[in-house]
Amino acid sequence: MSTVLNGLYYSESHEWVKVEGNVAIVGITDYAQHALGNIVYVDMPEVDDEVAKEEDFGAVESTKAASDLISPVSGNVIEVNEALQDNPELINENAFENWIMKVEMSDASELEGLMDAAAYEAFCANEH
């Protein structure tokens, strides 16, 4: 019932990445927002923060649970989605439109370890 978009990269911890040049736009998937339920807070990094692949860069809190955000790429944060500060529920409304951070990637080859839409869809089907 959750949506998966073609043309994006996906991580096993349910983040998506959209690549524009050397910039990775990162958010959480529709599957993740469904599982979390009503999101009440997004803890985001700050501009100029260094993020590292497979390390946490923030957290999402819902009425059910708090969950770490795991960065799918390494690099420098160049922009965060300020709108989520006051309206974290935007992610529930559209998880793919409401990105969380933009990262200037330090190693674009890290994208190779991520899944494409078809692989991610199969991955979610196997999650209990």
Partner: protein
Amino acid sequence: MKYYDRLIFELSKEGRTGYSLPRNPWKQSTNDIPAELQRTTDTGLPQVDELGVVRHYTNLSNMNFGVDTGFYPLGSCTMKYNPKINEEMAGLNGFKNLHPLQPAETAQGALELYYELNRSLATITGMAECTLNPFAGAHGELTGLMIMRQYHLLRGDLKRTKVIVPDSAHGTNPASAAVCGLDVVEVKSRPDGTIDIESLRSVLDDTIAGIMMTNPNTLGLFETRILEIAKMVHDCGGLLYYDGANMNPLLGRCRPGDMGFDILHLNLHKTFSTPHGGGGPGAGAVGVAAHLTEYLPNPRVVRTADGRYEAVTGKDAIGQVSGFLGNYAVLQRAYTYILALGKEYIRYAGPLATLNANYIKEELKGDYKLPIDTLCKHEFVFDGLADTSTGVTTLDIAKRLLDYGYHAPTIYFPLLFHQSIMIEPTETESLETIDSFIAIMKKIAEEALTMPDELKTAPHNTPVRRLDETTAAKNPILTYTELKNQAE
């Protein structure tokens, strides 16, 4: 349940009082307090007469739900009955009128109780000594981790800054580690919630201070490879911390100390029948193995050679974690519980709690989805309804239970499943109570198919209907001042 939602501030009437202060026999007056320390604005305290106060709090208490009013199957919380003899013993004059600053020679009985409870808990858990000073479970965790850190620090082993926490752990574990200044390393669980040994092996090195574990784990399953895990962690130089939230099924049957744990905390308000939900206060005793006793927080209570009791401090102690000797009145209740059951009967608490949990699980597993179908210990987890075709969720089930007069179980924890319902009946419930609960759970599963909308809008028979949790989390109004400001 009668609905009552007044705040005592709303009852306030200018000039109304229910007290008169005695004449001040001392010559002090507020003029003796330096001007800069004196309040210049009105305190804004409510002005209410005695009857008004009595009615207000009685009406509020009538809306309370506790073990004394109904079944409370809150997973991981061990909401067992709190026997009234506990209250009687805590109410004895000799205890009730103690002052924490009175000389030790006038409080020997109180210190003896502390010492004896300490010995009992150490024996039950297989540890060398406990501190009973921490105020609650998470406070015990922090105390235990401070002891872990002190052990490494005083050995000059400064590299050990990481604590391993399984991803199925209670949320307080990583939180306590972070508060203690340690970094958290998460290890994955296998589908049954037990630790993935290979994933654990891969993170063990000389930066590991220790591991925090619960056994039986969050799914109520015993970690059968615990001895192997203990050896691995010890071989790398780390310590094992036992979260005592799930100690109940082990009482008098097996001991964390024998499994290889070095430090543990016990929630006296869970396992040892002191008051819990509905107000606490808690008590989080911490036990340690023999090589760690010198780090226990101050003060420790010791028995001298001539049979006297003293509160002493140690130079390698982590310091003081609470005022005096913790929530002392809670300790009296826990000690009463242990003496009332004695070593002959305390060992029946676990098997009876385990029987109750397995009975409910087996009766309901056709109606609810049981992800791990095996014998459990004191609790187990369903993953929502077996038939989810009408879209009824775990939240709806929990809310519907309120309509039928039951406290809701723990929901959406553990995170291993999307629709977790965690049920822990405890040993103190009768077969009739448990059968009634099973009947209602079956009825709810049926209602989910025949009248799903009724469930999605539940509860219907409670003082308030379904709460807006999103707004409550995003925009909490926690004081009367905030409420007034919002109204204006």
